[in-house]
């Protein structure tokens, strides 16, 4: 029993890492959005069903070697939390890149152009 539990735990950890990596690398394209929405739907349906049939969840958990249904929900919550963290981080990075590009554009547009600076310097040198 304990060895089976260990296998499930390892599998969960691997799932967490893989899903997080895929989500982080994939960015915010439509395919990944769809995958996330499907996962959210499954999670919601499972949560709703567990209210009406609490035993089913416990039986699935027992089949996986986890023990209680609530533990299964806890593990699933951890996985979805990691996915959430990864996607939020990715989105945040993209936003930061956009803001940087925008700020740089403003900074460069507002600064005097190099050739006007050079001209001003030449005029200064002549007057001295």
């Amino acid at each position: 029993m304990t060895s089976l539990l260990l296998i499930v735990q390892i599998a969960l950890v691997v799932a967490v890492i893989l899903v997080s990596l895929v989500m982080m690398r994939g960015g915010v394209n439509a395919k990944h959005l769809a995958v996330r929405r499907i996962m959210l739907m499954i999670f919601a349906v499972a949560a709703a069903l567990s209210i009406f049939f609490p035993d089913t969840l416990t039986r699935i958990a027992g089949f996986l070697g986890i023990g209680r249904g609530t533990d299964l929900v806890l593990y699933a919550t951890i996985v979805s939390f990691f996915v959430f963290m990864a996607t939020t981080y990715q989105r945040f990075r993209n936003m930061e890149t956009s803001i940087t590009t925008l700020s740089r554009r403003i900074a460069l547009d507002e600064a005097p152009k190099p050739w006007t600076v050079a001209k001003a310097r030449d005029a200064e040198d002549l007057s001295q």
Partner: protein, 212 residues
């Protein structure tokens, strides 16, 4: 620069004695650093908000690239920790065609007085970038560099904060320019110590590199 009003003026005045064109990227300072820099004779390029050192570096490079007559760029910290004489020698090595990029290293001679802790952190960073890129660097996080036009136009730093130093080395590994290291002195004044990165910041550098 970011809030360096007390020192930036004298740093730029020193630079202007040797270099005709000094560009100072202001990273959203709120202490009047801009007017101090302008008064000292620098062109100030001003970020509307604070973005970080890496972003400022990239902005400065892009500004310099607008000038068709520019042949080499020196990156120089605004807090006065670098020496103009080192920068001059580094540009000479670019202009002579010896190298396309000259990287400053504080470990090539014994001028720089450095604490043991800081030495360990910087040396670890250097070993890390050596293993990641195969470039035999002695100092990984030195802000003093001289870059020729071609290499500068190929750099695209996206790490806004401290990890840009490692990012720059990573990009050099793909650009493969002719590079050399040049011995430079880092002047650790009380001012730069109070502003400089703490040892804990190396954790941030690692985190930014892993989760990009």
């Amino acid at each position: 620069m970011y809030n360096e009003a007390t020192v930036v003026g004298s740093v730029i005045e020193d630079l202007r004695k040797t270099f005709p064109y000094v560009v100072c990227v202001d990273d959203g300072s709120r202490d009047g650093s801009q007017s101090a820099a302008r008064a000292a004779g620098a062109v100030v390029v001003q970020h509307p908000i604070n973005l970080g050192q890496g972003a400022a570096l990239q902005t400065g490079i892009e500004y310099a690239l607008q000038d068709p007559e520019m042949t080499s760029i020196v990156t120089f910290d605004a807090d006065g920790q670098h020496r103009v004489i080192d920068a001059k020698a580094m540009v000479a090595r670019i202009e002579s065609g010896e190298a396309e990029i000259v990287l400053g290293s504080r470990f090539l001679d014994d001028r720089t007085k450095i604490s043991v802790q800081k030495r360990i952190v910087l040396k670890t960073a250097a070993v890390q970038s050596r293993m990641a890129t195969g470039m035999n660097l002695t100092d990984a996080h030195n802000g003093l560099r001289a870059i020729n036009r071609e290499v500068a136009s190929k750099l695209h730093l996206t790490q806004n904060r401290m990890a840009h130093a490692s990012e720059l080395v990573n990009q050099l590994a793909t650009i493969k320019p002719r590079w050399v290291e040049h011995p430079v002195e880092i002047i650790y004044t009380d001012y730069s110590k109070s502003k400089g990165q703490s040892l804990l910041n190396s954790v941030n550098i690692l985190a930014e590199l892993f989760f990009r």
